[in-house]
């Protein structure tokens, strides 16, 4: 984050604080306050509503921590209703009863109340939804740490544009922390890490991809090519984009011919086009080329003698200095990262669940011995959607690696960060 941007943000916060009246209950931009206010307004608008008193109960529904409902939501809702004084006092045994259920449905949180009693001829349902942002995610506590995983945290950083294909991390603004390059179906964007907000903020883009006659793009890849970003898609794009992004537009003339998936003329080799056009790794096989192919591949950082990959059957394979790894063969998803995350010697291996697209996925961080003889799960995080992209770097200036990944939910893609607590 640049000094200028930091100064502007600090000034904005100062003005906000000065503008807030003394004793204000919620900051003006509070999602919780806005959501509960919208719900309360619905309640206050009910004809024959609770003007003489209300008995209020709140329960946790799907995906919501019951303790947070009691400790966070209930006091805020009580205060909102009491301060507005449109409905009557909150009583233990009022003529009107309002029972509310709070649940997470996709990327939205819902409050559904059933109001009954008084002069109402029949129960009336009151429903109000709100998009889940970091504030609501934190307040509702929907991702509690699993026992034994207290040294790691998994936090939601916000939503991204639809159609995320890949992401890359690198320091773009020279502040020492990594920033984000994001490839979506509609183009390339860059995000700078904002230490003040604790998340990336869009800086440039989208730079639109040139039109292709074959416009199906379910896969896309980003790679560094010197100081430029090389990108490829399964729609046939092979483009380089210089940074800063808003200074240049990818040129179709820079495209290279599409790379073949295999070269069948040499039976002892399978040459795989990784989608990262600057690379072009060739993988030698002992026998006939695998009919199953390779889905993802990672090299041990700084070494050329240790590789891990996901084979065509979705199984985690590898080769180390001593040859084949001895860790048990396991089925994993198509995303793989091998990067330093915990500050100790040697990288950690990050895998996803072998679940069908769109089904609940799972992030796993493993410790890995240099001989590839043992894999130990250090962290496991459950998700509602699929992981469609991930990369590791140091975004928060703490000297430890951070894992950023994108979850495709039923709504917009969600950016998450997993990091080791310092």
């Amino acid at each position: 984050m640049s000094a200028h941007r930091l100064a502007v943000a600090l000034l904005g916060l100062l003005l906000l604080a000065l503008a807030s009246p003394a004793g204000a209950q919620e900051p003006a931009g509070s999602s919780l306050a806005a959501w509960l206010d919208a719900f309360s307004t619905r309640l206050e608008a009910v004809a024959d509503g609770p003007r003489d008193g209300l008995t209020l109960t709140l329960t946790a529904g799907r995906g919501v921590d019951p303790r947070r409902v009691d400790k966070v939501l209930l006091p805020h809702l009580q205060r909102r209703l009491t301060d507005a004084a449109v409905v009557g006092p909150l009583l233990r045994d009022a003529t009107h009863q309002l029972s509310i259920s709070v649940s997470l449905e996709g990327d939205r949180v819902w409050a559904v109340g059933m109001l009954s009693g008084g002069a109402l001829p029949a129960p009336v349902a009151l429903a109000q939804d709100w998009p889940v942002d970091r504030e609501l995610e934190a307040l509702l506590g929907t991702r509690p740490a699993r026992p034994g995983q207290g040294r790691w945290s998994m936090e939601r950083l916000g939503t991204l544009p639809p159609g995320v294909l890949d992401l890359l991390l690198r320091d773009l603004d020279g502040d020492g922390g990594d920033d984000l390059v994001l490839l979506c179906v509609d183009g390339l964007r860059t995000y700078l890490w904002s230490d003040l907000e604790g998340r990336p903020v869009q800086d440039a883009g989208p730079v639109t991809l040139p039109a292709r006659p074959w416009n199906r793009a379910p896969r896309g890849w980003l790679a560094w090519d010197g100081d430029a970003v090389a990108l490829a898609t399964s729609a046939g794009h092979r483009v380089r984009a210089a940074l800063p992004l808003d200074a240049l537009t990818p040129s179709p003339s820079a495209e290279s011919p599409p790379l073949p998936l295999r070269q069948p003329d040499d039976p002892s080799r399978a040459s795989l086009a990784w989608g990262r056009p600057a690379s072009g790794a060739t993988v030698v096989v002992d026998e006939a080329p695998s009919a199953s192919g390779v889905r993802a591949l990672q090299r041990w950082p700084g070494r050329d003698d240790a590789w891990l990959w996901v084979d065509g059957d979705g199984l985690l394979r590898g080769v180390g200095p001593a040859g084949d790894p001895t860790f048990p063969v396991r089925r994993v998803g198509d995303q793989l990262v091998l990067a330093e995350l915990d500050g100790r010697a040697g990288p950690e291996l990050v895998t996803t669940e072998a679940s069908p697209p769109g089904n609940p996925d799972r992030i796993r961080i493993h410790s890995l011995t240099p001989e590839l003889d043992r894999l130990t799960v250090l962290f496991e995080g459950a998700l509602d959607g699929s992981v469609v992209a991930m990369d590791a770097g140091d975004v928060d200036f703490d000297g430890l690696g951070d894992l950023l990944f994108v979850e495709q939910t039923e709504g917009r893609p969600v950016l998450w960060i997993v990091r080791r607590r310092t």
Partner: protein, 434 residues
């Protein structure tokens, strides 16, 4: 490591630190669809939705190929969709390759399906004006939620075209580009299928639809008055569900993929709502005694012949017997209850409630229909849940259970998605090795 995997991954030419593989082109998918209407499957293969259903997870292809309209939805066949007269008129502007007549035909055909049923339940009539620039859809009342109805309409073209009986071939000029697969074929055996739509299949990967099917009872007026399952008694509903033991039926018939339910609109369509606490602990055992002569009788009917519904029928008959009722034949003087399996074709609670009313004759007021077709999703949900509770309190329907709708997919077939109605989307599917 031999044969199928790589034993020596070396030889690096400007080796990358990481990589992932691109999709292959080619291959055919064999589909087994014993309990699915072949016409519905064909429609899913040969047409893309006129508007992207919000319930369908937005894939990158859709996001790229279908630009967003002013309503926030996406379409590859429309360039604009604009309301006039508070939503009583909607003006549809077709994409350059799509003619107004073709678009009009698509919408007319679509309104013969569930979108038309929903409008009929709201007592809204439709008229069309086709011009060179587009189609004006006039409605006899404002329908702010009209774009949601268009999500149920198939567009003029899709990724595949019919190629003889039970076969479909890829279209080179498909909207959004040629699909990766060469074609799709229907097969009669699940063992030979790459993609099985049967609910009980277990081999391969399971794709789960965004919301489950619902089973419920629809008693007629005499059965509602007689209350044979003593639902109106204090704690009667909780006792009924304890006795029904839906979890056991689901464990046997659906591998546990389902749940007992006390509401009509399933999760994925409507949010959680407050319910009275479920009973804890085991239900007391049912006591069966000989029925005395002249005991009241109820006719149990069912609309589907599957094993899960048959099990439900047997269990409900047992519950009747334990409450002093027998099962009789349908007749003029016999109260009747139907066991129905229902699946809303839309994820919108307002439209789903209209369809419930249309299909089962549940009553609605003009105020209800206004709320169910409102522009604000929260307004539609509020009205839907109010109406649902009213129907439940009146005994119009007795919810029984929900069961997940699944598709079984060969693990080497990637990129398959599942629509809200449970049918597969193969537009972006590909074989790992075709």
């Amino acid at each position: 490591m031999r044969t199928l995997h790589l034993s020596l991954a070396l030889v690096l030419i400007a080796a990358p630190a990481g990589a992932a593989r691109a999709p292959d082109t080619g291959g055919t998918v064999a589909v087994h669809a014993a309990e699915v209407d072949a016409d519905a499957l064909s429609s899913a293969l040969t047409s893309a939705p006129l508007l992207e259903p919000s319930s369908l997870r937005l894939g990158p292809v859709e996001a790229a190929a279908w630009p967003a309209l002013s309503t926030g939805q996406r379409s590859r066949f429309l360039t604009d969709l604009a309301p006039e007269a508070d939503g009583a008129v909607w003006v549809l502007t077709p994409a350059p390759r799509i003619g107004s007549e073709s678009l009009s035909d698509s919408i007319r055909g679509c309104l013969a399906g569930w979108p038309g049923e929903a409008l009929a339940a709201a007592e809204v009539d439709v008229r069309f004006d086709v011009t060179s620039s587009g189609v004006r859809v006039g409605l006899t009342a404002p329908v702010p939620a009209f774009p949601l109805l268009l999500e149920g309409c198939p567009g003029p073209a899709g990724a595949f075209a019919p190629d003889g009986d039970d076969r479909w071939l890829h279209r080179a000029d498909a909207p959004g580009g040629r699909p990766y697969l060469d074609g799709v074929a229907l097969v009669g055996s699940a063992a030979r299928a790459d993609l099985d739509l049967s609910p009980v299949s277990t081999a391969g990967e399971q794709l789960v639809a965004p919301w489950p099917d619902v089973w419920f009872l629809v008693p007629d007026e005499a059965a509602r008055a007689a209350d044979p399952w003593t639902l109106a008694a204090d704690g009667g509903v909780a006792r009924f569900h304890g006795d029904l033991a839906a979890d056991l039926i689901l464990a046997v018939r659906r591998g546990g993929r389902g749940a007992s339910t006390r509401v009509l609109l399933p999760p994925g369509v409507a949010p959680d709502r407050p319910l009275s606490p479920a009973p804890t602990g085991d239900s007391p055992p049912l006591t069966l005694r000989p029925l005395p002569a002249g005991s009241p009788r109820l006719a149990l009917l069912r609309s589907t012949a599957d094993e899960l519904t048959a099990d439900l029928e047997a269990r409900l008959a047992l519950l009747l017997r334990a409450r002093g009722w027998g099962v009789g034949d349908a007749g003029a003087d016999t109260p009747t209850a139907r066991i129905v399996q229902w699946r809303p074709p839309t994820a919108d609670p307002g439209l789903a409630t209209l369809l419930l009313a249309a299909e089962f004759g549940f009553p609605l007021t003009p105020r209800d229909t206004g709320g169910l077709l409102a522009a604000d999703p929260a307004d539609r949900a509020s009205t839907a849940l109010t109406v649902e509770q009213r129907w439940l309190d009146a005994g119009r329907a007795v919810p029984l259970l929900t069961a997940a709708r699944t598709i079984t997919v060969n693990p080497s077939l990637r990129g398959v998605r599942i629509r809200g109605d449970g049918l597969p989307v193969l537009d972006d599917a590909w074989w790992v090795d075709p």
